[in-house]
Amino acid sequence: MALIEARNIVKAYPDGTRALSDVSFDIQEGEFVAIMGPSGSGKSTLLHVLGFLDGQTSGTYRYNGKSGDQYEPDEIAKLRNQKMGFVFQSFNLLPRTDVLENVALPLVYAGIGKKEREKMALKAIRLVGLSSRIHHDCSVLSGGEKQRVAIARALVNTPDIIFADEPTGNLDSASGRVVLEFLQKLHSEHGHTIILITHEQSTAEHAERILSVRDGQLESDVKVEHRRFAKEGYEK
C-alpha cells in the first residue's frame, strides 16, 4: 500500500479557477519526490490537498490507506502535528515571537513540556545553522533566515513526511545547497518521505523522481536518471 494515493484529484476554487484537474499518482513511504512546474501550475494547491490542509473538489486522496473523511478531525490535527512537517512557500512564522518559540510551536500542540521543547527546538535550529539567532524576533530576520526557521519548525517533531514548498526559493545558492543536502540526508539516513516543490529542473533533480505539473495536470512522472547530490555541488 502506498503512503500517498491520489486518484483523479480535481480542485476548483470557488471563483471557478481549476487549479488541479484529474491528477493521479502514488508515492511510497521513504520516497523523495519533486513536484515541478511553472508558476501557477497548481503545485502549492496539490501540496495543500496532500497535507489535508484543503479538500479536493472531486477524486480521492488517501494517506496511509485512509481518505480525509475517514479520519476524525482531531486525528488529522495529530497527523499534521506529529507525522507531517510543512515548509510553506510564504514561511508563515508567528509574528512578535522569537525563533526558538516559532520552531517549538508544533511541540506545544504535542503536549511536550517546556524544557524538552526547548531542547528539541535548539537541535532543529542548530541543524539549519541559526543558533546565533534563537532569541531574535522572526519579523527582523532576512528572507533566507525565515526560510530556515520554517524548515527547522518542519523538522522539529521528526515527522514521517516533509512537504517543502519552494524551500530554496529565497536562498542564495550556497544556503540552498545546505537545505537540499539536509533534505537528502533526512531521506537517506533517516528514511523520511520527502515531497519537494520547485519550479527549477536543477533543484528537482535532487529528488529520486519528478512529477511535472502544467495547468493543473500531471504532465509526466519520471525517475531521475542522473540524480544530483547537494554535497557535491549545486548550481542555480
Binding site: 495529530k78 499534521r80 510543512f86 500542540y109 504535542a110 503536549g111
Partner: protein
C-alpha cells in the same frame, strides 16, 4: 496541549493589543463594581438596622405627628402639631392604653450652646424623666432630669459626654452655667458615654426638660415625637392598636387613612430600611446586569475583530497540529482572562467606593456605618466575570476554531 501553555498563549495573544483590551473591559469593571457596592452597602445597612434595634429595644414604639410617609409629599406632614400635652396625658392613662410602661415626649432642635468663649452647635433634646429608660442612659456626674424640673420648667441642662468635653474640657461642668438661645441654664449632670441610640447621638446632645424646651427653645406646644415602651414584646401590637384608637378618638378621626399621627415599631422601622436598601439593591443590580451585558457584547465584538485579524495565525496553528479544541480554548481563555481581569479591577473599585460610601454615610447620617470587605461578593464577582467571558467568548472562539487551515493561511 498543556494548560500552562494554553494560558500563556492566550495571555500573549491579549498582550499584543493591550490598550484596546483595556478599553473593552470597562463594562465588566462597572458591572462588577456595582455588584460589590450592592452587597457591601446592603451589609452595612443590615448592620445599622441591627444596631438600631439593639439601641432602642424591640419594645419601643415611636409615635410621630402626621400621616405615615408614603412619598416625598407626606414628609411635610411630619411637622404638624398633632401631638401635644393633651395627647401625652391621654396615652399615659392606663384606661386608654394597656400594657404601656411609659411614654416619653421629645422636642428636638439644633441650637448653639455657649460656655464662656466655647461654642458648640448641638441637638437640644427636650424630654421627661423617662428618657433615661428610653435611651438607657445614666449620669456620670450629677443627675439626669428630675420630676420637679419638668413640672417647673426649670432652666437646667444635662450634657452629653462629647458636649461636656467640647465646652469644659477636663474641668467640672456640674453647677456651671451655659447659654442657649440667649438663656442661661444650670448644668446639673453629664451623661455617661453611650454613642448612637436609634437616630440620636447621645454623646453630642444636651438634654433639658421638655417643658423648658417648648417654652424657651421651640416656642411651640407640640412634640417632635413620643417614645412609648410596652411592658413586653408580645404586647407591642396591642399597645400600638390602643395608641391608635386613643388618638383617633381624641382627634375625632373615623378613617384611619386620615390619621394625623403614626406609630412605628422597631419591626416597622426595620421593614422601611429593608425597603430602601431593597430599592437600592434593585437599582444597582440592574446597573450591574446592564453593564455586564453591554460589557459582554463589547468583549464579543473585540474578540470577533481579534479572530478576524488573526485568521492567518489561526490557520498556521492548525496546520502545525492545533485541534479545533485547542483553538476554541485559546480564544475562550483570552476572553475569560479579559473579563476576570476586569472583574478584579471591579472588585477593587467596588470595595474602594463602598469604603468611601461608608465614610460619607457615617458623616451624613451621623451614625457609624460599618464597612467590611465583602468576600462573598468578591467571589461572586469573579464567578460572574468569568461567566461573562465564557458566554460572550464562545461565539468568537467557535468561529475561530471552525476556520479551515488553508483559508486561514491564505488570508492576507
Amino acid at each position: 496541549m498543556r494548560l500552562s501553555d494554553r494560558i500563556k498563549a492566550s495571555y500573549r495573544g491579549l498582550r499584543t493589543n493591550m490598550s484596546r483590551t483595556m478599553l473593552t473591559i470597562l463594562g465588566i469593571v462597572i458591572g462588577i463594581t456595582a455588584i460589590i457596592i450592592v452587597v457591601s452597602i446592603g451589609q452595612g445597612a443590615q448592620d445599622l438596622i441591627l444596631s438600631q434595634i439593639q439601641g432602642l429595644g424591640s419594645r419601643t414604639i415611636i409615635i410621630e405627628p402626621g400621616r405615615e410617609p408614603h412619598g416625598p409629599a407626606d414628609f411635610s406632614e411630619m411637622y404638624t402639631d398633632s401631638l401635644k400635652q393633651r395627647e401625652l396625658d391621654a396615652l399615659m392613662n392606663s384606661a386608654n392604653v394597656q400594657g404601656l410602661e411609659y411614654v416619653a415626649p421629645m422636642v428636638i432642635q439644633v441650637v448653639p450652646v455657649n460656655y464662656e468663649n466655647e461654642i458648640s452647635r448641638t441637638n437640644i433634646l427636650g424630654s421627661s424623666v423617662e428618657i433615661a429608660n428610653v435611651l438607657d442612659i445614666y449620669a456620670d456626674d450629677g443627675d439626669l432630669l428630675r420630676e420637679d424640673d419638668i413640672r417647673n420648667h426649670t432652666s437646667v441642662a444635662v450634657l452629653g459626654s462629647e458636649v461636656k468635653i467640647k465646652l469644659f474640657g477636663e474641668s467640672d461642668a456640674v453647677g456651671e452655667r451655659i447659654k442657649m438661645n440667649g438663656r442661661s441654664y444650670m448644668v446639673i449632670g453629664t451623661i455617661h458615654p453611650k454613642g448612637q441610640v436609634g437616630f440620636l447621638d447621645v454623646d453630642h446632645m444636651v438634654l433639658i426638660p421638655y417643658t423648658t424646651a417648648q417654652q424657651y427653645i421651640t416656642g411651640t406646644s407640640h412634640f417632635g415625637a413620643l417614645f412609648a415602651r410596652a411592658i413586653d414584646e408580645d404586647s407591642v401590637p396591642r399597645v400600638v392598636r390602643d395608641i391608635e384608637l386613643t388618638l383617633r378618638e381624641l382627634h375625632g378621626i373615623d378613617d384611619p387613612d386620615k390619621d394625623d399621627f403614626h406609630a412605628t415599631t422597631q419591626a416597622d422601622a426595620m421593614e422601611t430600611v429593608g425597603v430602601i436598601t431593597g430599592a437600592l439593591t434593585a437599582l444597582l443590580s440592574s446597573v450591574a446586569a446592564i453593564s455586564l451585558v453591554v460589557g459582554g457584547i463589547g468583549i464579543m465584538n473585540i474578540m470577533l475583530v481579534s479572530v478576524a485579524e488573526r485568521t492567518r495565525e489561526i490557520g498556521l496553528r492548525k496546520a502545525l497540529g492545533a485541534t479545533n479544541t485547542d483553538i476554541l480554548a485559546h480564544f475562550l481563555l483570552e476572553s475569560v482572562i479579559l473579563t476576570v481581569f476586569g472583574g478584579i479591577i471591579g472588585i477593587l473599585m467596588g470595595s474602594l467606593l463602598s469604603f468611601l460610601a461608608s465614610l460619607v454615610l457615617t458623616k451624613v447620617l451621623g451614625r457609624a456605618w460599618s464597612f467590611t470587605f465583602p468576600i462573598s461578593a468578591a467571589l461572586l464577582g469573579l464567578g460572574v466575570s468569568a461567566s461573562v467571558g465564557l458566554i460572550f467568548g464562545i461565539y468568537p472562539a467557535k468561529k475561530a476554531s471552525r476556520k479551515s487551515p488553508i483559508e486561514a493561511l491564505r488570508y492576507e
